[in-house]
Symmetry: C2
């Protein structure tokens, strides 16, 4: 029987509630955004007692459905000032689902200066004061927490950056190897830090897998669904072999790889940081080129990257991180980038926000472009230690721009723009401008259709069709983010009809209901409208649905194109 768990950090109480009728058909992002919109005042201070952290596994999480183990976290974002859903793999989502927890809502804030942990198990939810584990990084923390319980409990934690309430801080989620996955974007680590929670541990001992209401029907649909993942060339071959970093060479070729703080669309040293190079390096050093971020993942786009001596450095080593520190900061050494990735995971900062930030900091002269060792040092000794410089850098790209008076600052709603230049890949530019999340490629991944030829093809350099493309992808993504599914199921979903139908079949079999594809689309639309309303009430007006001025003024080589959508054109995005 599903329930809602509330943890009140003001009076250190917990309470278990039945799921309100209206929330029964919701999961993942649909649920987190609904709860945040219903219970968090849009104009509240994001780091104050009125904000809430809402953790929710997806509708299919905990079942045997492939790739259904993603966790949604909702809150008001201290980075964007709007609503936020951040999404990660790891083991927590499945454990929460098995425990029958449809949402974990953490509210309030301790009046005193003490820090706490929350432990969730089958028979009890407990809050405990923490002292010794404060200030330590996520890698060590996961080890210590699992050692404390003597088993591989789920762990969601903040590193030093989250404890210091830095706006680029994230929340880490331990994966099956006790490595680090991240609820990365929007500074939600600062919200957890403001509530003085160092970590949340989850023990699902004694709970069975989630059993669908209609077992046979579910099993059939799940088999069809899984096959579409394997059949599609992107999810079945490209991603498993090269990881997301397969994109470096593709985007470089397309002239859409933002380079040297978004001043060019191609990076001369792209070969040194490409997915192909990375794959060969991993294999040569005895790492794992193919690996899953959560139990039940079938795409396996993650990997384990070792150093020259064959020792573990990082996993979940993503294209966006490698693009950001590589092309955008002009760091050619993949080992430097991997070490930086490790440190970012350990101190708990979003690797996209941080990489974009370093591009701006380099333009400001804080350190030279290409200085990989400098980046690693600043992550460890400045951001991780909370020095004044670290406090500046830990606030993300927008803050560094403001502090140093830089005008070329690639952010929307104060969140760093990832990995794809909107001037030469205009569909993703519409997503960046219009997403309720601030600049976020995952909220409407137009790269699929603009660059990868998935779901058809729309010329990335032309304006035609981009708004409709971005709108449809954002709607579909809001629905997918509600299922607990990994976003990469969108590749087969866009090209293979059985993927979506089997997904809907699984949901219906899970709950014994009769949704249609249209119902799922309607859900995605409803989620976006709820989020948009929250943002408007928080003060994000249509002028915030815009890209920074420089994209319209500075032509991007090699295509020498500018961002040329008008405000009026962009606003038609909301016509649904």
């Amino acid at each position: 029987m599903d329930r809602i768990v509330r943890v009140n950090m003001t009076d250190l109480t917990t309470c278990i509630e039945p799921v309100p009728e209206a929330w029964v058909p919701l999961g993942g992002r649909a649920l987190t955004s609904t709860v945040v919109a219903a219970e968090v005042p849009p104009t509240c201070h994001a780091l104050g007692a009125s904000n809430k952290l809402v953790f929710a596994p997806g509708l299919l999480t905990g079942t045997a459905a492939a790739n259904s183990g993603r966790l949604s976290l909702g809150a008001k974002s201290p980075l964007t000032g709007g609503i936020k859903e951040s999404n990660a793999g790891g083991t927590a989502a499945r454990m929460l689902a098995k425990l029958g927890i449809k949402a974990l809502i953490v509210e309030g804030m301790p009046a005193d200066d003490k820090w706490y942990s929350i432990h969730i198990a089958k028979d009890a939810i407990t809050i405990q004061e923490e002292k010794e584990l404060l200030g330590i990084g996520n890698y060590c923390l996961v080890q210590q927490v699992q050692a404390r319980f003597g088993k591989p409990v789920g762990v969601m934690s903040v590193g030093p950056a989250g404890e210091m309430k830095m706006l680029s801080s994230n929340i880490s989620v331990a994966d099956p190897e006790a490595h680090i996955r991240s609820l990365g974007r929007g500074g939600l680590g600062a919200v957890m830090g403001s509530k003085k929670i160092k970590f949340i541990s989850i023990d699902d001992t004694g709970t069975p897998p989630v059993m669908p209401k209609e077992g046979a029907k579910f099993k059939d649909a799940a088999r069809i669904f899984a096959k579409t993942l394997l059949d599609h060339p992107v999810s079945g071959q490209g991603l498993p072999k090269y990881g997301t970093n397969v994109l470096v060479n593709i985007l470089n070729e397309a002239g859409g790889l933002p380079t040297r703080n978004f001043t060019a669309g191609q990076y001369a040293a792209h070969d040194k940081i490409s997915g192909e190079t990375m794959h060969d390096t991993i294999v040569a050093r005895g790492g794992m080129p193919t690996h899953g971020c959560h139990p039940g993942c079938q795409i396996q786009c993650s990997q384990i990257y070792n150093d020259k001596d064959g020792k573990y450095v990082t996993s979940g080593f993503e294209y966006e991180t490698i693009w950001g520190l590589g092309a955008d900061c002009c760091i050619e050494d993949l080992d430097d980038i991997a070490e930086a990735d490790h440190v970012m995971d350990d101190i708990g900062v979003d690797s996209i926000e941080t990489a974009v930030m370093f591009g701006v900091a380099m333009e400001a002269g804080v350190l030279p472009f290409g200085d990989g060792k400098g980046v690693v040092r600043m992550l460890r000794e400045e951001i991780g230690m909370g020095t004044p410089l670290g406090r500046i850098l830990g606030g993300g790209a927008g803050q560094v721009g403001r502090v140093y008076g830089i005008t070329r600052v690639p952010v929307v709603k104060n969140q760093g723009i990832p990995a794809y230049d909107p001037r030469s890949v205009k569909g993703i530019g519409v997503t960046y401008a219009m997403s309720t999340m601030g600049a976020d490629h995952t909220s409407g991944y137009a790269i699929a259709t603009n660059i990868l030829g998935v779901g058809g093809h729309i010329d990335p350099l032309a304006k035609e069709g981009q708004i409709e493309l971005a709108r449809n992808l954002n709607i579909a993504t809001a629905a997918i983010d509600s299922t607990g599914m990994c976003l990469f199921i969108a590749f087969p979903a866009l090209d293979i009809a059985e993927c979506l139908t089997s997904l809907v079949d699984m949901i219906n079999a899970r709950f014994g209901i009769n949704l249609t594809g249209d119902d799922v689309t309607a859900l995605g639309k409803a989620v976006l409208k709820i989020e948009h309303k929250f943002n408007q009430d928080a003060g994000l007006s249509k002028e915030h649905d815009r890209l920074p001025e420089f994209f319209s003024k500075e032509p991007l080589p090699p295509h020498n194109v500018v961002w040329d959508f008008t405000g009026e054109e962009l606003d038609t995005y909301w016509n649904f």
Copy 2:
């Protein structure tokens, strides 16, 4: 013959234009806001080439009218993101008016890394590269510039903070003694710094005073007007004797003196920093308790404050600065505050923004409450030198709040709230929330009627009548700011009928026109509407017309009152 002077910093050209028909009846703030609204894209980056600095003397500036020598500066504010008019005394306004310059519009931005000065004289406007004067403080700069020209030229300059584009940086305006007045609020020093202008010098040699069209009529009106300034107890007695700092004891008594970062409304050590104490100290040390900030000032609320050895420390030592570092930062030593005031003027930061910022920084633990020596050191060695900590602090209260994750941050539209607690003086709270300028007491000085009994009395603790009061005062102030008049003429204007009528008579005689009091009110309304429209187009929605959350949640001693206006109530402010 009045004209518009444009200086283009992109191609280093100047041009003189006739005054467009529509701008003829405008001056001061009415003109700066009109030009900014017409020529600056609201969504542009405030530190980019699209922003403009618009300097304009008022309608009466340059004439013999008492207190008419104020200068308006308009631009898009990098601090608030909205339109800004900042206003100062000094000699520049009168010189520009005598030179027939109705507005000086500085636009564009140099492509290279060179710095410049602009020199304005009767026969030529020149742009010159500057090297040796870079990095030095305003006090020394004024000396050196006047030495270069061998005469007391007008000087408008940025200190190191403006050169570094800090968001609290101001633009200094030399006064008759070559001391420092400030176009203080909204970070306009950063705009001047972004255009790489270290200073603008003005030589009015060879220009006569501005002659009204109807001399005799003007003279009569000017005499009546001047008499009202002397007759009113505030402008004729309180301000000349104690300066604006007369307010410390008054606000403390009223429980509206924000103390210890806005956690109380009374300051135990108020006597040590009061206007009365300051007056006696100044007299005992051979300073000047009574002094004017610009030629023709009759109120003389400024002063010259010396140290224990009788050496000059500061002038224009205002209540807001003394409140901010005194009560709000709990610094009891007036000499420490005076030295801080000197350094703030010298490095070129707004003393209100900076004082409010230090209150937040003290709450964040950056330095202890009460540490006056620490404030002076941080101003000189951190902000003035642009260290990382200095970069944080130089960004103002909002930035310090974001960097350290503080929730009690007294800002509206990211601009620090001055000197009067909105919970216990609700009329000024409405001004803070609704002003187009961000939190700005001067834009609608409800203290007059809430506390000083000027223009009637409205209970400061009650909601009734406050919105109408604030609206009327903001309208009147927008008009006064357009005349070149010091805001303190508002005291007699609210109580003595002849003050306003003679003011209108002077404007009519100056231009040979026939305005009525209603026309002046209509001008004030039009200015506010222009500014409001700009702000909306810049993305400042009605949710930005609100006070921070903590004012509604934390009761303020001794009255234990909270801010209790709803958004709907506040929005009625715009019903005119």
